[in-house]
């Protein structure tokens, strides 16, 4: 067995180190054409290491290496159920996308920038996935933020309209609903920072209050005695702490109302969108929520006041985001932005499923003793990752082929683009939950979880818990429609593209065919694994079959009628994302400007007056003048001053001495 330190070092550092040469050789065209292969090789090493960890390392083993033990900041990694799977998913997806990127990014104007940040992105996510220590996790978390900024704003010159999001010159009120890449990068990093800072404080607070079994302070997620922590800080403390922590997760996962950055993140290269939407970045938020809930075990903490509020909050934020994203996507005509909105919707469902864990009691014989709500959230994340990454890669290829970022392409086009067409059918059908394809089993379990909440609501009178099942089914139906629309308007009923550039694309095709093929592997796993046995049972329930059937009908209907002209006004409203951009681009900045003007006009004038213009400079001026006035150059004056001072001091000392 290879030493665990070497495995982890290779896992995290191989992608970064392998991308340094291309970063350094940014001036040489020759080298930047060859060195991407090295970068991809670095990610391949990570794939090997993640597989090695998956197959060879013992499960639920913690690997701890000291860093700053006094502050609980250590390199602590864990190979629990979630990390083992997620690590492989992340590395494999990044690797497939990287292969695709070899062709997609050929001839780009700054490959060094792209590959360095792409690999940093992957490495950061791997760090988030395997970290058990909250601070170490936060390091990876910030790596994700930095890399996403670099990649979303990759085409920083804003000189190619194809990289924009929104319709150029389309104005609603004072706001132009069109965003260039540089603005996209800025919107991403600024939104994320807005959540990261509270999250950082939450981690600090956890360090102050949390202890492990032995009563020692710790930052290790798996060792913290969460129940004790929440009891210590009380109901209000729990709500504040977890809300601050959730701020980081919700902004990263682009949940309402922080979703805007994700839409304009589509200004980045498509490979970035694919990675961002499947296994990194947005997935990080949901993943960390699942992981932390895994160890908080909220279902055992019903006696802790305040915890239910937080989980109810997360449940509804997730469901609202799910429906909002799906509805917004239904009005969209931009390939990638439509997919982005659908991702947001999926992430909402993941949050909602994971939050439902509060009300679900795991049973020893079901799902290997795991909480099925968390399990289903995680499995949905896995299925979604591969399906969504395939769809993004296909749309990247389509944008290449048609020179358009808007949905277009009819059946003739599909005949010439058979591979992407087939992959799109597979990816959409497998993702929306048509029986008996992969996501059907996962979605069925999700239905069961929400149904459980419904029963709970009926029994206890907590009537709000009856709503989730309705929202979930509604979201699933709209979701099915939007992906069907994506398929239809790209390959079946779309307008004929103005350009058709069909040559090449070999590596790109390889990338998304590999990606989509994993969906079959996942289906196989659902049927053979012990913990997912429940998914198969759930698929046999009458509710699931009913919902699955409805989804199938909606899917077929949307393929045949992807656009409903009568609803075009509503569509525009949805396409404008229900005017949420105003919050990001108008209300928040205006408030900020208002506050900064206030500070500038009133606060700074006082501070400036004191330090910079009036009081302090005046004082210095006077002292300086005094000091210089003494220097007359006459010995007589000096002697007078010195003698006088000495005499006065001695007299004072005598008086003081006698008094003492």
């Amino acid at each position: 067995m290879i030493d665990d330190r070497i495995v982890f070092l290779l896992l995290f550092l191989a992608p970064v180190v392998s991308s340094i040469p291309i970063a350094l050789a940014y001036k040489s065209k020759g080298w930047t054409e060859k060195l991407p292969y090295l970068s991809v090789f670095g990610i391949f090493i990570s794939v090997l290491m993640s597989l090695y960890i998956f197959f060879v390392f013992p499960e639920n083993q913690q690997y701890a290496y000291d860093w700053i033990p006094d502050l609980g900041i250590n390199i602590v990694l864990i190979t629990d159920y979630l990390s083992r799977y997620m690590g492989v998913i992340t590395a494999v997806i990044a690797f497939f996308i990287a292969i695709y990127g070899l062709e997609y990014m050929r001839g780009d104007y700054r490959p060094s920038w792209y590959w360095f940040f792409f690999n940093l992105f992957t490495a950061s996510m791997l760090l988030v996935v395997y970290s058990d220590n909250l601070f170490l996790l936060f390091v990876g978390w910030e790596g994700l933020g930095a890399a996403s900024w670099g990649l979303i704003g990759h085409w920083f010159r804003d000189d190619d309209e194809i990289a924009y999001v929104g319709v150029p010159k389309r104005k609603v009120g004072p706001l132009e609903l069109s965003w260039p890449p540089s603005f996209g990068g800025w919107r991403a990093i600024s939104t994320i920072r807005f959540g990261d800072v509270p999250m950082f404080f939450a981690i600090a607070a956890i360090w102050v209050f949390a202890v492990d079994k032995t009563g020692k302070s710790t930052l290790n997620i798996s060792q913290i005695e969460w129940g004790t922590l929440f009891t210590t800080i009380g109901a209000a403390g729990t709500v504040i702490l977890l809300t601050l922590f959730l701020m980081g997760l919700l902004t990263k996962s682009a949940q309402v109302p922080f979703s805007e950055w994700l839409m304009t993140a589509m200004t980045g290269p498509t490979t970035v969108s694919a990675l961002l939407h499947s296994a990194t970045m947005v997935a990080a938020g949901a993943f960390v929520f699942i992981k932390v809930s895994w160890y908080i075990r909220p279902w055992e903490l019903h006696h802790v006041p305040g915890l239910e509020i937080v989980y109810t909050f997360a449940l509804f934020i997730g469901l609202i985001s799910g429906l909002y994203g799906a509805l917004a996507a239904s009005g969209m005509l931009e390939r990638k932005v439509l997919l982005a909105a659908s991702t947001m919707s999926s992430l909402g469902l993941m949050f909602a499923a994971a939050a439902a864990s509060f009300w679900i009691q795991p049973e020893p014989k079901v799902a290997a003793g795991m909480n099925v709500a968390l399990l289903v959230a995680f499995w949905y994340m896995a299925v979604h990752a591969f399906a969504k990454a395939s769809l993004f890669l296909v749309s990247g290829h389509l944008i290449h082929a048609t020179h358009s970022r808007f949905l277009c392409g009819g059946i003739e086009f599909a005949k010439r683009m058979k591979t992407p067409f087939i992959v799109t059918i597979i990816a959409t059908a497998f993702l929306v939950g048509i029986p008996p394809l992969t996501a059907y089993w996962v979605k069925s379990m999700m239905d069961e979880v929400k149904l459980h909440l419904f029963h709970h609501a009926m029994e206890t009178g907590a009537i709000h818990l009856a709503i989730p099942i309705i929202l979930l089914i509604l979201t699933s139906l709209v979701y099915s429609a939007i992906l069907a629309k994506f398929l239809s308007l790209n390959f079946i009923k779309g307008e004929k593209p103005e350009h058709e550039h069909l040559e090449g694309g070999g590596l790109m095709k390889l990338g998304y065919v590999l990606m989509a093929s994993v969906l079959f592997v996942l289906t196989y796993h659902i049927f053979v694994l012990e913990e997912t046995e429940g998914f198969v049972h759930a698929g046999g329930e009458i509710l699931s079959i009913g919902v699955g059937g409805a989804i199938f009908i909606v899917y077929i209907a949307a393929i045949f009628k992807p656009r409903i002209t009568a609803l075009s006004k509503l569509g525009t409203f949805f396409n404008d994302r229900m005017y949420l951009p105003f919050v990001n681009d108008y209300i928040l900045p205006k408030t900020g400007f208002f506050v900064s003007h206030l500070v500038q006009d009133y606060g700074n004038r006082g501070i400036d007056g004191f330090f910079n213009t009036k009081v302090m400079p005046g004082l210095f001026d006077r002292i300086s003048k005094g000091i210089r006035t003494i220097q007359t150059g006459y010995l007589k004056t000096y002697i007078q001053i010195v003698l006088g001072l000495v005499m006065i001091s001695l007299i004072l000392a005598s008086i003081g001495g006698m008094w003492i």
Partner: protein, 422 residues
């Protein structure tokens, strides 16, 4: 044995000075030999090496000036350096005072040295205050020594005030600093670089020694006097330097400010409590060494009309207190001792904390003028005496790149010698 070697060094120095009437270089050579012998006689090697280095650099800087007493001036600097070395060897009250006089008197002659003549006007101004300072210091010291045997509160306080005032006048602590800007600007930069470096160490050492030796129950009450002087000196020096244009004048006020920092070491002498004194002694000495190195470098740059720019910046950073240069460690240990005493003293502890805060504020005030000095005196590289001296002093301030734990060990030996256990 050590005393015999010191006497041997003195003999060599005297013979050399006599010989230098015939050949001037003999003065330089014998002074160097005498310093080597003196170094061998030093009990605390770390202390000795620093004094040796400063002394040697001072000697070489004299090479660049054509003075009337050329040859003898080497002897005078050699004598100062030997006395400075010797003060750390002795635990004898009388010898400590003798060392003070031996360091003070040669500067009366050195201050008048200039190219081809004697600067009598400056000399008179300087000597007047030095004589007054030395007398005050000595009387204060004698009174304090008397109270050690038969304690009298009033006498103790009078002695303390006289000693501190004498010291202040001697080294140029505000508000008794009037002679400093005048003398620093009108005398030749080379002798001033000696007065501003080597001549500052013994007075402080002697004062610290005497105050520790005679410390009484009243000490903690009277230190407020020293603290006030230190505060006035820091602000006067820094604001004066900040608003002066002439380089020598800036350096004069910088000396006033630096002496204020070092004076705070005396504030810490409240009781012979080992760790406070240890840190204060270490901080004070490092501060004095850093001040010496910086002043030599800057004054020589004035004399040579500029020196290599990076060296000048390093000296400026050391003065400001940028780690890991020596000036930083000096301030750091002084601050540590102040804060420790402040926390130790339940009542009136805040005085010490306030003094520590004033040092930090003053360091910030000093940033602009040091940087300005470095940028104005800094020029391109030329191979000459000025740059040789600048490189030498920069090596000294760079020694503390290795964190000076080693120096603390050296201080332990030194403290034992002079009779304080730390």
């Amino acid at each position: 044995m050590e005393l015999a070697m010191m006497l041997l060094a003195l003999a060599i120095l005297t013979l050399g000075s006599v010989g230098s009437f015939k050949y001037r270089w003999i003065g330089l050579c014998t002074a160097i030999v005498a310093l080597v012998v003196g170094l061998a006689a030093c009990r605390s090697l770390y202390y000795g090496v620093f004094i040796f280095a400063i002394g040697i650099i001072n000697l070489f800087s004299l090479v660049g000036i054509r003075s009337k007493i050329k040859g003898v001036d080497y002897g005078l600097v050699g004598l100062m350096a030997l006395a400075t070395m010797y003060i750390a060897n002795t635990g004898d009250f009388a010898l400590v005072l003798a060392a003070l006089v031996l360091v003070s008197v040669p500067t009366y002659i050195l201050v008048m040295v200039r190219e081809g003549g004697a600067n009598v006007e400056v000399g008179i101004k300087y000597i007047t205050f030095m004589v007054f300072a030395t007398v005050l210091f000595l009387i204060g010291a004698v009174i304090l020594a008397y109270t050690k045997n038969s304690f009298d509160g009033l006498l103790y306080i009078l002695g303390y005030v006289m000693l501190v005032m004498g010291l202040s006048l001697e080294v140029g602590v505000a508000p008794l600093h009037e002679w400093v800007p005048d003398v620093f600007t009108s005398a030749d930069p080379i002798p001033i670089s000696i007065i501003a470096s080597l001549a500052k160490i013994v007075p402080f050492f002697a004062a610290l020694w005497i105050l520790i030796y005679t410390a009484s129950t009243l000490t903690s009450s009277i230190t407020i006097f020293t603290a006030v002087l230190a505060a006035i000196s820091m602000f006067t020096g820094n604001i004066g330097a900040l608003t002066s244009k002439e380089h020598a004048r800036v350096l004069a006020y910088s000396t006033v400010a630096n002496m204020g920092y070092v004076l705070t070491c005396l504030v810490v002498v409240i009781k012979p409590t080992p760790e406070f004194i240890g840190f204060a002694l270490m901080g004070g000495l490092l501060m004095l060494f850093a001040n010496a190195a910086g002043k030599i470098g800057f004054f020589n740059a004035i004399k040579g009309e500029g020196a290599y720019s990076p060296l000048m910046y390093l000296l400026a950073f050391s003065f400001i207190g940028v780690p890991p240069l020596m000036g930083f460690w000096g301030k750091f240990f002084i601050l540590s001792s102040l804060v420790k005493v402040g926390l130790f003293m339940a009542e009136a502890g805040y005085v010490y904390i306030v003094v520590a805060a004033l040092i930090v504020i003053n360091s910030a005030i000093s940033i602009p003028y040091y940087i300005r000095l470095a940028s104005e005196l800094g020029i391109g590289w030329e191979t000459n005496l000025t740059n040789f001296i600048a490189v030498s002093v920069v090596i000294i301030i760079l020694i503390t790149v290795v964190p000076p734990n080693w120096f603390f060990e050296g201080m332990r030996v030194l403290a034992q010698t002079i009779g304080i256990g730390i």
